[in-house]
């Protein structure tokens, strides 16, 4: 469904991704892990159009989507829940959902989708008139997921679902993500809690220094902690220009 080939992305002169190739199949749940600064978030942002690649291609259902602005990418069925949620915090929960359904203008569809996401997150029903910024951190993340689902995406991209949340809530959110995936939406996620990510996904890619260092079945990777450690631990560090002498 999503095919990334030889992707290069730069911030100014600094390369962030080098020749990254990845695939997400229909209904798959894929995890993207790696050390900080390995380029995980960059990869997600390039897929959803927040960044433009300098080389390589991104194809979604056979159509090129690389270099398109975000508002065109979502029309292809790729929804991106960015790091830090990016809610419309001064707008109501319902308005957030309404904007989430921007690409699906039909009012009837909207009502049906609202009912569906409210089933996943019953708490949002109680909060529907409240401003999104007044929700608790966990509720905000739930709204983030719900809003992303409103466009009926074929692929849901989630960046750091667990960021700043208590572990209890993180576990709950992962459960829901698995359910959504079970209903046919493919998921590509970046997650710092590596074990939790691997536990819930089918396949995983390990990024290191902007390149795909490892890929494979999530279960297999989980059973080979020494491999992961090699890429997530000290050896994968960027050489520090300070502290060493």
């Amino acid at each position: 469904m999503l095919e990334i080939q030889d992707l290069d992305v730069c911030y100014g002169p600094v390369p962030a991704l080098r020749g990254v190739s990845m695939v997400v199949g229909d209904g798959e749940m894929v995890a993207l892990v790696g050390a900080n600064g390995a380029g995980k978030t960059t990869a997600l942002r390039t897929i959803s159009g927040m960044l433009s690649p300098t080389a390589g291609s991104i194809t979604f259902d056979g159509e090129r989507i690389d270099g398109l602005p975000p508002y065109k990418v979502i029309a292809h069925g790729v929804a991106h829940l960015p790091e830090g949620r990016a809610l419309f915090s001064d707008m109501s929960v319902m308005d957030n959902l309404r904007l989430g359904a921007w690409t699906q203008p039909s009012e009837k569809d909207f009502r049906r989708r609202v009912a569906e996401v409210m089933d996943h997150f019953p708490i949002l029903r109680e909060r529907s008139k409240q401003a999104a910024g007044t929700l608790s951190g966990g509720e905000q993340q739930m709204l983030g997921v719900a809003r992303a689902l409103m466009s009926e995406p074929k692929l849901l991209i989630v960046d750091e679902l667990s960021l700043g949340l208590a572990p209890k809530i993180v576990a709950q959110l992962f459960q829901i993500l698995t359910t959504i995936n079970g209903q046919g939406t493919a998921v590509l996620m970046v997650e710092q809690f590596v074990h939790m990510a691997l536990q819930h996904s089918n396949r995983a890619y390990v990024l290191a220094k902007g390149e795909v260092a490892l890929e494979g079945d999530a279960k297999e990777l989980r059973d080979r902690p020494e491999l992961l450690a090699a890429y997530l631990g000290d050896d994968a560090e960027e050489p520090e220009p300070v502290g060493a002498r």
Binding site: Y71, I74, M91, G100, R147, A166, P167, K168, F193, E240
Partner: protein
């Protein structure tokens, strides 16, 4: 005075209220869509009004003319968005604001040229009839204005509430990036908002001009009450803007009536009383809405995205890369002065005048360089201060004070008035401040300069300038003689430039740049932010006032029409064209503008085009050369390189490469030489007292004792720096102190947890007692207690929203607790502001790194020496020995800290562009430079991966072990907290639910339930534990 009089006044204000509402709605609409305060709103109202007048005189039917007028407003809005706002977004908010200023100047100049400067009476739109109304009357035109604005307001609300376009616009205003991800094209909604805003301004302008008059200079200022209304409503809210319009309308209507009120009455008895009242209202609103230190300032300080060297973002070259040595600079300066003095002797008369004008422009531009370029405070009122200076000179001369004496008198008086305006600036920043100063300029123009005691009758004041001495004897100075006066001007401007250059290189200049970079960080380093802002306003006011004084002295006459707000915009243009933070740029741009003036005066075909050209110049510089004239040399060099490498093929490029290689090699050799020469700086300071050996070896007892000097702030670095000195003496080696510091320097992996004496036997460093913080009705922190004892690393943890940051801020002084006390080293600091707590020995870092983006690593650390440098403003201004000594010891201290932490490789690099982990380290280093024995770290591990976190933990252990600094950290990363902290406090829903040693906390069931979640059977609850528990124990 009767009630009916009041009521009639109010009723008369209703049409104005309607116009203000339309202005305010447009301003809010544009602000929400693009976070830009459209200072060009007034000209977006004026130009369409002229369009209607022109089309009507050409016989077009009224409806068509109206339609064309409104369309021209919408088009102008779209054009401003496309040409300026969108392109300047990449540079800075300030650049966008200055962009709208350029549009303002451009349209005013264009209109004055095309439509003339005389007021015109636009044709009536509605029948010219009046309905009698309680002794007065209301015209159909006024009714039409009211009706139209009600209809448009309702329409606008419906648009936002019920349409998809409205939803998109609200979404894009709330979160631009997110709106894009949802499928909304945010650029298009911004464009639509500017078009709508332009159309609203056009409607307001056309209707308002139809009931008043239209002229290019005063009419654009009619939108200013709209800004006040928008500010009252909080800028982001449309209902708020309507409420603001009502308040402003009432204030306008009431102002004349206030003349009957005792005490304040006579302030309101003259022309401009409405402007005076509105200014007072605006300033009060801003003071109320502002915050002590904007919490919103706690952001990434532009470190993440700032790429271009642009306006207000100009990177400074590190000291060692300045090409000219000190001796050469002095020589060049002397030559320049000689040239400036000698050319006049043979120059034609008119050129002397031009040169004098150039110098006066430089003086005013310099005031903006300091205020805006260095401190980040925009002023659109500098011409008003020139006017105040000129008119005050008149008052003083008439009172018998002769010229050279009036200069300091007027300078200090203007400085005082500017500082008063600055008081408002203490509460607001950026865009708000720009509006505040514009409103001030407007009030000055209409009210202050209409006061006969100050500005004479009809806003024109004249004096007789007295000469110094008697003719034909020496010394004789006739200040009305152009050549004599040129020398006076030259002396004053040179002095001002030298003083400014001295300030820039001093503690004062660094503090200013720090305030501009991040106010919270500046305060956390002991810089009194408010005082430094006021100081900048005063210095800028002084310079502008002096310029006014000189102007009056030579011209012997001044008229209020010279000091229109438009003149302020031209001064800003000069400063921006020069390169907003460059002293030399101010001089260069002053000369350019003065020459342009001369040219346009001499060549009759160009007469009247000066205003247009200077606005155009501002626009072009903003868009194409954001670093101004001062930024040209590097740009030209780059261009030259491009041409050379582009034109000449491989061979040429290779030669070029070799040349630059050779240049680099030569520079390296030079640097090596300089470094060797610099070795002498380390000679032990004879003034420092001999150090007792016992005092120096606290490390044997497990952890060092902080040496408290009898005076000055506590210095945690003293022991290690003194130990370095002692070792040097003891070993009698040739080695420099530098090396001896480096022997004490941090070596990764060597730090361990130390065995502290029993907690309760150690002195209390910080004690927060019964802290309660309430926001509105919400209790964020509820009677929390927290203590840090000497030598400890204390952790504060808790689930999201537990109130950790709120408590942290209460301790550091960023918010004031509702009840409870904070004691630092046993002294109550609850009432002390942030900077005084910092000076008392409280250091901190920030979750989102708050380094000063324009400064290098070394300069960032130098700001940390602020509290240790006792030299004052006057010594900085004149670069006295005291200032130089202070600077030398500050640099020495920073060099030593750099050595200790091993930051040499990045010392001279700008902080923008450094890796995240290094930035964290630099921020810690900056807190250490202050010498604070107690340092607070706000989520130091956020954004770092496990390995980086371990490195940071190791460094923090070393800091405690070697320097004896006590630490308090908020942290999410449980692994880090348990590995690092001696003692842990757990906050949940505002209450402290547990405290104790790390091992006890992990076993505490209350904590487990609240924080780790009672879900261990389902998922691994805590973040991944790379190190098993046993390893952690081994570290102890």
């Amino acid at each position: 005075m009767s009630i009916t009089f009041f009521l009639t006044q109010l009723a008369l204000a209703v049409p104005l209220m309607a116009a203000y509402a339309l202005f305010a709605l447009g301003i809010v609409l544009i602000y929400r869509a693009s976070r830009v305060l459209n200072l060009a709103h007034g000209v977006m109202a004026m130009l369409p009004s002229y369009v209607v007048v022109e089309l009507r005189t050409r016989g077009l039917p009224m409806p068509l003319a109206l339609l064309a007028g409104v369309a021209s407003g919408a088009l102008l809005g779209a054009a401003v968005e496309m040409v300026f706002v969108r392109r300047l977004r990449r540079i800075s908010e300030t650049a966008q604001t200055v962009g709208t200023v350029a549009v303002f100047g451009l349209v005013v100049a264009f209109s004055a040229r095309v439509f003339g400067t005389q007021p015109v009476r636009p044709p009536a739109i509605f029948p010219e009839k009046t309905i009698a109304f309680s002794g007065s009357g209301i015209t159909y035109g006024q009714l039409g204005l009211i009706g139209t604005s009600v209809v448009l307001t309702l329409g606008l609300f419906a648009l936002f509430k019920f349409t998809r376009l409205g939803l998109a616009m609200r979404g894009a205003a709330s979160n631009r990036t997110a709106a894009g991800l949802m499928g909304v094209n945010p650029d298009r909604t911004t464009q639509v908002a500017w078009m709508l805003g332009g159309a609203l301004a056009a409607v307001a302008g056309i209707l308002l001009s139809a009931v008043t008059t239209l002229d290019p200079y005063n009419f654009p200022l009619q939108a200013l009450p709209g800004f006040v209304a928008a500010l009252i409503g909080g800028l982001g809210s449309m209902p708020g803007a309507l409420l603001g319009a009502v308040v402003v309308g009432i204030a306008t209507g009431l102002a004349p009536a206030l003349s009957g009120v005792p005490v304040i009455g006579h302030f309101f008895s003259s022309v401009g009383s409405a402007q005076l009242l509105l200014t007072v209202v605006a300033f009060i609103v801003m003071a109320m809405r502002g915050e002590r230190l904007a919490a919103s300032d706690v952001r990434a300080a532009g470190l993440a995205g700032s790429v271009s060297a642009g306006i207000l973002r100009v990177r400074r070259r590190p000291a060692d890369q300045r090409q000219l040595t000190r001796g050469l600079r002095v020589l060049a300066g002397l030559l320049l002065v000689v040239a400036a003095v000698s050319w006049v002797l043979g120059a034609p008369f008119s050129w002397v005048g031009t040169a004098t004008t150039a110098l006066s422009y430089t003086l005013v531009a310099l005031s903006l360089v300091i205020l805006t370029g260095w401190v980040g405070q925009i002023s659109l009122a500098q011409a008003s201060f020139v006017g105040i200076g000129a008119f005050l000179t008149g008052v003083l001369v008439r009172a018998g004070l002769p010229f050279p004496l009036t200069l300091p008198a007027v300078g200090f008086a203007s400085a005082a008035i500017a500082a008063l305006l600055g008081l408002v600036a203490l509460r607001v920043r950026g865009l708000y401040l720009a509006v505040a100063t514009l409103i001030f300029a407007w009030m000055t123009q209409i009210y202050l300069f209409a006061q006969p005691w100050l500005a004479g009758i009809g806003g024109s004041s004249s004096i007789q300038t007295k000469a110094l001495g008697t003719p034909d004897t020496f010394p004789y100075l006739d200040f009305t003689n152009r050549t004599t006066f040129y020398f006076v001007m030259l002396a004053v401007t040179t002095a001002a430039m030298l003083g400014a250059a001295n300030l820039r290189r001093s503690k004062t200049g660094r503090a200013w740049f720090a305030v501009k970079g991040s106010e919270v960080a500046a305060a956390s380093l002991g810089i009194p932010v408010m005082a430094y802002k006021l100081l900048a306003f005063a210095v800028a006011g002084f310079l502008a006032g002096v310029a006014g004084n000189l102007l009056m002295t030579t011209n012997q006459v001044a008229s209020s029409s010279q000091f229109l707000p438009q003149a302020s915009l031209m001064f800003l243009a000069i400063a921006v064209v020069g390169g907003l933070d460059s002293i030399g740029g101010a001089l260069a741009a002053g000369i350019v503008f003065s020459l342009l003036g001369q040219l346009f005066y001499k060549v009759s075909a160009l007469a009247g085009l000066l205003e247009i050209v200077s606005s155009l110049l501002l626009a072009v510089v903003l868009l194409a050369f954001p670093a101004g004239i001062a930024g040209l040399p590097p740009r030209l060099a780059a261009l030259g390189r491009r041409i050379v490498t582009g034109r000449i093929a491989d061979r040429g490029a290779a030669i070029w490469q070799e040349l630059s290689d050779r240049r680099v090699r030569r520079r390296l050799a030079r640097e090596e030489l300089a470094a060797a020469a610099a070795g002498t700086w380390a000679a032990p300071d004879s003034t420092s007292p001999p150090v007792d050996e016992a005092e120096l070896q606290p490390a044997a007892a497990g952890w060092p004792v902080v040496v408290r000097r009898p005076s000055g702030p506590p210095d945690a670095l003293a022991p290690i720096l003194e130990r370095a000195e002692v070792e040097l003496v003891e070993e009698q080696v040739e080695a420099r102190e530098r090396e001896s510091v480096s022997r004490l320097a941090y070596v990764p992996g060597t730090a361990t947890k130390v065995d502290l004496p029993e907690r309760w036997n150690r002195a209390s460093i910080l004690h927060a007692q019964d802290i309660t913080v309430q926001f509105g009705g919400l209790t964020a922190v509820d009677t929390a207690n927290l203590e840090v004892r000497e030598g400890e690393i204390v952790g504060l943890i808790g689930p999201n929203g537990a109130g950790k940051t709120t408590l942290f801020n209460a301790i550091s002084g960023l918010n004031s607790p509702t009840s409870g006390t904070v004691a630092l080293f046993g002294a109550d600091v609850t009432r002390l502001p942030v900077h005084q707590r910092a000076a008392a020995g409280m250091g901190r870092t920030f979750q989102l790194i708050q380094l000063f983006p324009e400064l290098s690593v070394t300069d960032n650390l130098l700001v940390g020496t602020h509290v240790r440098n006792s030299s004052g403003f006057a010594s900085h201004l004149f670069a006295t020995g005291r200032a130089i000594d202070g600077e030398r010891s500050a640099r020495q201290r920073v060099a030593q800290v750099i050595e200790l932490l091993g930051l040499q490789d990045v010392a001279d690099q700008p902080v923008t562009g450094l890796p995240f982990g290094v930035l964290r380290l630099v921020e810690v280093a900056r807190a250490l430079v202050t010498g604070a024995p107690y340092v607070m770290l706000d989520e130091p591990a956020s954004g770092l991966d496990n390995a980086e976190t371990d490195k940071l933990s190791d460094l923090l252990l070393w800091v405690r072990q070697t320097l004896g600094i006590s630490l308090l950290l908020i942290e999410h990363d449980v692994r880090m907290v348990t590995a690092l902290c001696d003692y842990i406090y757990v906050l949940d829903r505002g209450k402290m639910i547990a405290n104790g040693e790390a091992a006890d906390i992990r076993r505490d069931p209350v904590v487990t339930a609240a924080y780790f979640g009672a879900v261990e059977d389902e998922e691994p609850a805590a973040p991944p534990q790379r190190l098993p528990e046993a390893d952690l124990a081994g570290v102890h």
